[in-house]
């Protein structure tokens, strides 16, 4: 069953070619790799390839088929694009928003102050909102020149990570 998997900016085509217990033959973007994969009881994928050992952890997101993958040094956003996901994507209800028209905070926290309101003409670089988390205040700036379409939060609100705070037109 071949599917596509998005890892960071890369979209890889992957298929299972053969299996003998935990010894697998997997094709990734046309390259066939022989790997020894163990999903250990503590939740790590231990992969041996050509004698090299890799440990990968997959942390599931709230949205299905999305993960953050951790290797020793890197962190990757991972998304499974199977038939179902593709169908949803084609219908335009996929998870890809127009990120540059939104202001969101990667972390949960509290809204200290919102500086813009609906209908405001805003300039790239202008401070739109101040969020406080862990005793640190961070300013979020307008990413593009434009007009404020919607402000979803107000001063004092508690917010979640990656929540859309302000939408631009």
């Amino acid at each position: 069953m071949a599917i596509e998997i998005k890892v960071g900016d890369r979209t890889a085509w992957v298929d299972l070619r053969g299996q003998d217990g935990n010894l697998l033959e997997i094709e990734v973007d046309g390259k066939i790799m022989k790997v020894d994969v163990m999903h250990t009881a503590d939740g790590t994928f231990s992969i041996l390839e050509g004698g090299h050992s890799y440990n990968i952890e997959l942390v599931p997101h709230k949205k299905p088929k999305k993960y953050t993958a951790y290797s020793l040094y890197e962190e990757y956003d991972v998304e499974i694009i199977d038939a179902e996901a593709r169908y949803l994507l084609d219908r335009g209800s996929g998870a890809f928003g127009s990120a540059d028209k939104e202001i969101s905070s990667p972390m949960p926290g509290k809204v200290v102050k919102v500086f813009v309101k609906e209908g405001d003409e805003v300039k790239n670089g202008q401070t739109a909102i101040v969020i406080s988390a862990m005793k640190m205040e961070s300013e979020y700036k307008v990413p593009v020149d434009g007009k404020v379409k919607k402000v979803n939060v107000k001063d004092g609100d508690t917010i979640e990570g990656n929540q859309v705070l302000i939408e631009l037109e």
């Binding site: 599917i3 790799m33 990968i56 499974i80 990570g161």
Partner: protein
């Protein structure tokens, strides 16, 4: 002399556990207090007793003096240990403890007022002939005053919270245009962190080293120092890595600064454990910066090279006992380094990264200590400090300690949130750091190299494989009809980790 049988720890997180560990060794019962956000925090589970003291924001819980006193009286605690931060340098709290007949493990309220107010502290030090950094003798009331002051002591300047510490309520100003927002930010941070928004100005010393001395003083007039800690590796004026001995230190300077630290403590009749922070310039001139009238975050490195349990000494001093050792009994054995592990994103201007911990593998092995409090499945609250643990190593030499730290950081894995671990690992590999040639600008000056993650093999293929196998496993466990893929139970266990979420 009193014998302390029960201590309320008025703090949370790693330091609460650190204190309780010593309590257990001394057969003292430990009482935890916690906010609504901390019900699942490990310090609550480690303690003999635990009591809820209020809502998540610290001013409604960990800073609520009367509530904490009420709990202490209710559970008949003999003493309160304030840890660091929160009420540790709050004179009103120390005074209230005294009034209620509870021992406050720390110096007297008078000393806290004097040293806690950085302006009064500077005065006291000047009187005791300890050199201080040039700056304002009084707190400033508005931005206009700053413009007056910079006519005398030129920019750059530091704006600091009079009640400050730990890098909170502190702003560096290079340009006149930055003054207004810097004063405002320092004020607002000072108010939320310490409940006092007065700030003062200090000349900013370029290329400074931040070196501090640990002191212990008993109620019988004995004062000793436990040598220095080099704390120059900082980001946003907050320490990231500390080591002892300092690579900058010479035996002569150590002798001189140690003596100054002891004099400083004596000048204010200090009792308990305290830290005198100095700025040292490249010519080895040193200036008193501030005194922290509490246990420091980085105290374990001093414990490691001297063999002294500082919390135990604090408790003994609070009981009225005499110090067990004299200056000549102490020496620094080997080298110790501490790395602070923060829940933050080093790739994104060290932005805090609270959230749920997915998995932790802690480093172990010879010469490694971790002081932490988070565990798998724990949700780090947004209300408190982003520091989640401290990694402390010891080595016979500085080189050995650095190599050991690098190894320990390699072993340390925390997923689910972003942490400073890999960033710290890169610092351990930095040539200037290894040479010991650094000042407080190290992070800024080496930003590019420290952000450079090249040199690691692209292993996205392996990530694809892991995600693919995970997908196949999920498919085959949901529909048994799949013939494409066999998931032998003995090979791929159905692991319970998903249940954490």
């Amino acid at each position: 002399m009193t014998s302390i049988k029960k201590i309320l720890v008025a703090n949370r997180g790693e330091i609460a556990i650190r204190i309780m560990r010593t309590c257990r060794e001394m057969n003292i019962e430990a009482v935890a207090v916690f906010s609504e956000a901390d019900r699942t925090s490990l310090h609550v589970r480690y303690a003999h007793e635990a009591h809820l003291i209020g809502k998540a924001p610290s001013n409604e819980s960990y800073l609520n003096i009367e509530k904490i006193i009420e709990v202490a009286k209710y559970c008949k605690a003999d003493a309160i240990h304030p840890g660091y931060g929160f009420l540790s340098e709050n004179a009103t709290f120390a005074r209230r403890c005294k009034e209620e007949g509870i021992i406050f493990i720390g110096p007297s309220p008078e000393v806290i007022v004097q040293m806690g107010d950085k302006i009064m502290a500077r005065e006291a030090m000047t009187k005791a002939d300890v050199p201080v950094v040039p700056g304002t003798a009084e707190s400033i009331s508005d931005e206009k005053e700053v413009f007056e002051v910079i006519k005398d002591i030129e920019l750059p300047i530091m704006i600091k919270a009079a009640a400050g510490g730990g890098g909170k309520g502190m702003r560096l100003v290079h340009k006149e245009s930055e003054i207004e927002s810097a004063v405002r930010a320092a004020r607002s941070e000072a108010l939320s962190s310490f409940g006092d928004d007065s700030v003062y100005i200090e000349k900013y010393i370029t290329s400074p080293h931040h070196i501090e001395f640990q002191i212990l003083a008993d109620e019988h007039g004995n004062v000793i120092h436990l040598f220095e800690r080099e704390c120059s590796i900082q980001r946003r004026h907050q320490k990231m890595i500390e080591e002892t001995p300092s690579p900058l230190m010479t035996p002569e300077l150590r002798e001189k600064m140690g003596q100054s630290a002891v004099e400083a403590a004596k000048a204010v009749n200090y009792t308990g454990a305290g830290t005198i922070e100095f700025l040292v310039d490249n010519n080895l001139n040193y200036y008193f910066l501030e005194m922290n009238t509490r246990l420091q975050v980085e105290h374990p490195i001093t414990e490691r090279v001297t063999g002294v349990d500082l919390v135990k000494q604090q408790i003994r001093i609070a009981e009225g006992q005499e110090l067990e050792f004299k200056q000549k009994d102490l020496s620094q054995k080997g080298h110790s380094i501490e790395c602070r592990i923060y829940a933050e994103d080093p790739d994104n201007n060290f932005m805090p990264s609270p959230g749920k911990i997915y998995k932790i593998s802690e480093p172990l092995g010879l010469g490694v200590r971790t002081d932490g409090y988070v565990y798998e499945g724990y949700e780090i609250p947004i209300f408190y400090d982003p520091m989640i643990s401290k990694l402390i190593v010891w080595g016979k030499t500085r080189d050995e300690a650095i190599n050991r730290m690098r190894r320990a950081l390699y072993e340390y894995k925390i997923t689910g949130i972003k942490t400073s671990i890999k960033y710290l690992e890169r610092i351990m590999g930095n040539a200037e750091f290894i040479k010991g040639d650094y000042d407080t600008h190290f992070i800024e000056d080496h930003q590019k190299e420290l952000m450079d993650k090249s040199g690691h093999k692209d292993i996205s293929d392996m990530v694809v494989i892991a995600a693919f196998i995970d997908y196949l496993q999920k498919i085959s466990s949901s529909e048994n009809s799949s013939k494409d893929f066999v998931t032998p139970q003995s090979r791929w266990k159905n692991i319970p980790y998903i249940n954490h979420f």
